[in-house]
Amino acid sequence: MFAGFDVVAQSIGQLAEPITLALLVGGIVLGLIIGVLPGLGPPIAIALALPFTFHLEPIAAIILLLGIYSAAIYGGSISAIAVGIPGTGAAIATVQDGNKMFKAGKGGEALGLSLTGSIIGGLFSVICLAFIAPILATVAIKFGPREFLAISVFGLVVVVRVAGESLSKGLLVGALGIFLTTWGLDELNGTERYTFGSYHLYEGIPLVPFLVGVFAVSEVLIGAERALQKLDFDQTSLTVKLPGWGKLMKMKDILFRSSALGTVIGIIPGEGAAVAAFFAYSEAKRRSKTPEKFGTGHEEGIVAPETANNATVGGALVPTLTLGVPGSPAAAVLLGAFLIHGLAPGPKLFAERPDMMYAIFIGLFVINILMMVIGLMAIRFAAKLIQVPTTFIVPTVLLLSFVGIFSVSHSFFNVGVLLGAGILGYVVRKLGYSIAPLSIGFVLGPILENSLRQSLVIADGSIGEFFNTPIGLGIYAALALTIFGGPLAGWAKQKMFPRAEDA
């Protein structure tokens, strides 16, 4: 589904406009800054920048947000390495070896490895995105309600499974997110549902204020609790030392495997960068000849998770762009940005706005290249931001969230939704629930309801007809494999090699 060189040339032309280039660089710097600050991850970074994109052209706006997305994931590793506190969930796996290397006076090497791994993972996933997304879009254009239902169920179940320690808690907040999307006029027959006589609720609970509230405001409230803690670290070890060609060649297997793992995990709806990082870390450790070195300041323990977590960016965009199903919480907020600009991600977007798609592919490629340059120059300064007191960050993020949401809609109701969602997010997080199923459920809710109701009508009471969809069955089979594959493989391995497992 190649749209032609003229479209590619048009996309390059749009990207080469000075304002777009400036936003691209600005996005990387902003993402790096927000990623470094502990607690503020990519979804919050994108959410805070959303209001600023309202007045921009769609391509410029999306490029800015993609720059923030990619750089925020990488930025999390800087605080993970320097102070042992991951700036983002995606950098948790980097803490063990990264911080040990930093403390051993090899901070520059650790930062260089994380930067190089991030760039390689990011570039790998962009190439995969550019090849997979158009093919998937041609398949997805044939999708009907039953296929979309299968994808929504897949995304939800997977995110619930990985989101927290308790399955029932994950399912509860996931269902809560879906339920909240039923408010407003019924899309299929116009019935008023839970509007309580307010015209504000006719279009339901607005997506962007809800997501910004759940991510940013809840984080502000949690941040306020630990506001008086001070962070300090040795700043002499902050000069980045990039790994040489020989070292990269030695690690080529880990780089390739982690990139592939990150991309694949990113593609699975709901799975995020943190899952990819952990998976790549444990896989690198499992295959290593010296697994005992992991956790003691081992270079491979930085490269594997950092390569994988940035590889999820391109992967997560595959279902987001082709199906309208977000691959991660950050992609869910990005989906909101598309909607603000009047674009509905899905297979039709490829046919309607091929210039936008190619601008995204090329833009992401450029972002990863520039991240290397900006990273080299800015790490030293970015790392110092770790010392910005939380007492300053809390009111700043709160004010930006308020003003940002108001500036998009000029509606106090939306600011109220932001606050309400923030309080809901805070309460559920304090009680040990994950907000990932809540946000993904809120994004997937309308797709799930409409496709379920349409599928039931198509099936006309017949179970056989309900599942009479080869693509849908394939997706359900993949879901079953995701849930039962691990335990079954473990069981089979134990049966076949009982002694090895005991050892």
Partner: protein, 153 residues
């Protein structure tokens, strides 16, 4: 400090009460005209979700009642200590108060209030922090009103 066990049981009882309320509210949905007879009724999906939420809540309550924990929060409390609880909840109160000030009066009083009030809620003593926060508020105001042409009233 309030334990995860007690807080989760109370929260899930509230969730069940809310689910019953919304399920009953769904019974009042009215579809007019020809569309009323097409497809599944509008109440079907919300009630399905509410039933599922209720079921999950019962399972969570059961886990806390009989096992004492759900996941890995055995013996854990909701807040780290009294200070953390006070800071978190006071900032929440400040956020709500700022929203009310903005909607009842205007933007400027909220803008002046939000930084220092949050700092006060978090127990900040340094006067420089209060000054920095007021400067930050001013910068945010200028960026939105002058650069982005947003009318903040």
């Amino acid at each position: 400090m309030i334990t995860q066990r007690a807080a989760n049981i109370a929260f899930n009882i509230l969730v069940i009460v809310a689910a019953v309320f919304f399920a009953l509210e769904a019974e009042t949905f009215q579809t007019s005209g020809l569309l009323a007879s097409t497809g599944l009724p509008s109440k079907f999906f919300p009630q399905l979700m509410l039933a599922f939420i209720g079921l999950c809540s019962i399972i969570v309550i059961g886990a806390y009642l009989f096992r004492g924990y759900a996941g890995t929060d055995k013996g854990a409390s909701v807040f780290e200590d009294g200070g953390a609880a006070r800071r978190g909840l006071l900032v929440l109160v400040v956020a709500v108060a700022c929203y009310l000030v903005w909607s009842l009066w205007s933007f400027i009083p909220m803008l002046i209030l939000i930084g220092p009030a949050c700092a006060l809620a978090m127990g900040v003593r340094s006067p420089w922090m209060y000054v920095s926060l007021l400067v930050m508020s001013g910068i945010v105001y200028l960026v939105f009103t002058q650069l982005l042409n947003v009318q903040l009233t």
